[in-house]
């Protein structure tokens, strides 16, 4: 399992554009907002939580497509299925690796972008924690979508349609958490709910992914 994780992270860093793409997308959306709406910090602060969360969610969605696509194309997926190891655990490792390469960079750059939206530094902690949980949820849910749409020619649109509705609850609570902490309230409640969602999706998603991957070979 550790081997799959390490291998996938190494591969991701050898293709650095795959890591850079979501980050650049995230940065673009959040910098466009002040230009399009108003540069007033007081006004931006009102919508900052929502904007950061929507941008991060869409950016994280970008990389999902590649989660199993390359493995499917070069035949390593077949070898993974025939490795004699529990497939669900391998899927969990791949999800974790995907999060490291796509979710974690978003979390790390988020404070930088939050400054441009006038988010006070006190809210950075809640922002980063909520985004870390949220991108984790999206990686877990997205892995199911990626595995289900493997054989399809234009799977990416279907993938977004499948995954985004499932990620709605995370968006609601995540944006709320950031919003609350911008206004100086304790954001513990929504963050705990997000953690519960992450645990749930991490537990169930590998099983669904394993089943979907077996079907993809038919």
């Amino acid at each position: 399992m550790a081997l799959v994780y390490r291998n996938d992270v190494v591969l991701a860093f050898r293709r650095w554009e795959q890591i850079a793409q979501p980050v650049v997308f995230f940065a673009m959306i959040t910098t466009l907002v002040p230009l399009a709406l108003s540069p007033e910090h007081a006004e931006l602060r009102q919508i900052a939580g929502g904007v950061l969360w929507i941008a991060a969610l869409l950016a994280a969605l970008l990389g999902l497509e590649f989660l199993y696509r390359a493995d499917h194309a070069d035949g390593t997926l077949e070898q993974m299925l025939l490795s004699g190891q529990p497939l669900a655990l391998l899927a969990l490792a791949k999800t974790a690796a995907h999060w490291t390469a796509s979710g974690l960079p978003l979390v790390l750059v988020s404070p930088l972008l939050a400054i441009s939206l006038g988010v006070p530094t006190d809210a950075f902690c809640a922002l980063m924690v909520s985004l870390a949980l949220g991108t984790g949820i999206l990686s877990a849910l997205g892995a199911i979508g990626a595995a289900l749409t493997l054989g399809l020619r234009r799977g990416s649109v279907l993938l977004s349609l499948l995954v985004l509705p499932l990620a709605m609850p995370a968006l609601i609570f995540g944006a709320r958490a950031v919003d609350m902490s911008i206004h100086g309230e304790a954001a513990r409640g929504p963050l705990l709910l997000l953690s519960a969602m992450l645990v749930l999706s991490l537990t169930l998603s590998p099983l669904a992914v394993a089943a979907a991957l077996r079907i993809s070979q038919e």
């Binding site: 194309a73 070069d74 035949g75 070979q217």
Partner: protein
């Protein structure tokens, strides 16, 4: 049709293009479920304990199952490492055996099609699985490569392994005659 493979046996699956050689091999490997009939390993249907069956099987498909961005060594270390712990000396030995010692630190993407096939074969060797299921293993190999691979297969069969090969031409395995199953 019915096929039985015993230890120390080479089975050659012949048939024209589209006859279903690859489909048969994928069914044997458990990647596809058979519409009718079934596959058993040591008397047990493979679906009853698929993971333990998969662990006794080395499958070489149409694709070489190599990561283009990983070097030859890393590819082997990862693919084989999924099944058992493998030392660097073992991977180097296997690479030398298939004639890739000089390319071991090159990424798979710069290797030629024949070299990639050899590398995929090195993976099969290293898995130490008793049953090899090889789909057109001689594709893209040069004359020396074909002889080398035949030799590797012969050694495996000498050691009590079983090999199922799908190929257009009858494979010439030293010291062994392949029993032929014709799908036509």
């Amino acid at each position: 049709m019915s096929v039985e493979v015993a230890a120390g046996q080479v089975v050659h699956i012949a048939g024209s293009n589209g006859a279903g050689k690859t489909t048969l091999l994928r069914v044997l490997a458990g990647l596809l479920s058979a519409e009718q009939g079934g596959v058993s390993w040591q008397g047990q249907p493979i679906a009853s304990n698929f993971d333990s069956y998969a662990a006794t099987l080395a499958y070489l498909g149409h694709s070489d199952a190599l990561k283009a961005d990983l070097t030859a060594r890393e590819n082997l270390a990862h693919e084989v490492g999924l099944r058992r712990s493998v030392t660097a000396a073992e991977t180097d030995d296997a690479l030398t055996r298939v004639g890739l010692a000089s390319c071991r630190d090159l990424p798979a993407r710069v290797l030629s099609a024949g070299q990639r096939r050899r590398l995929a074969m090195a993976r099969v060797m290293l898995t130490a699985a008793p049953l090899w299921v090889l789909d057109e293993p001689f594709t893209n190999l040069d004359h020396v490569g074909v002889l080398l691979l035949s030799d590797v297969i012969a050694d495996h069969v000498d050691g009590g392994g079983a090999v199922i090969i799908a190929a257009h031409q009858s494979p010439a395995i030293p010291r062994h005659t392949a029993s032929c199953v014709d799908l036509a």
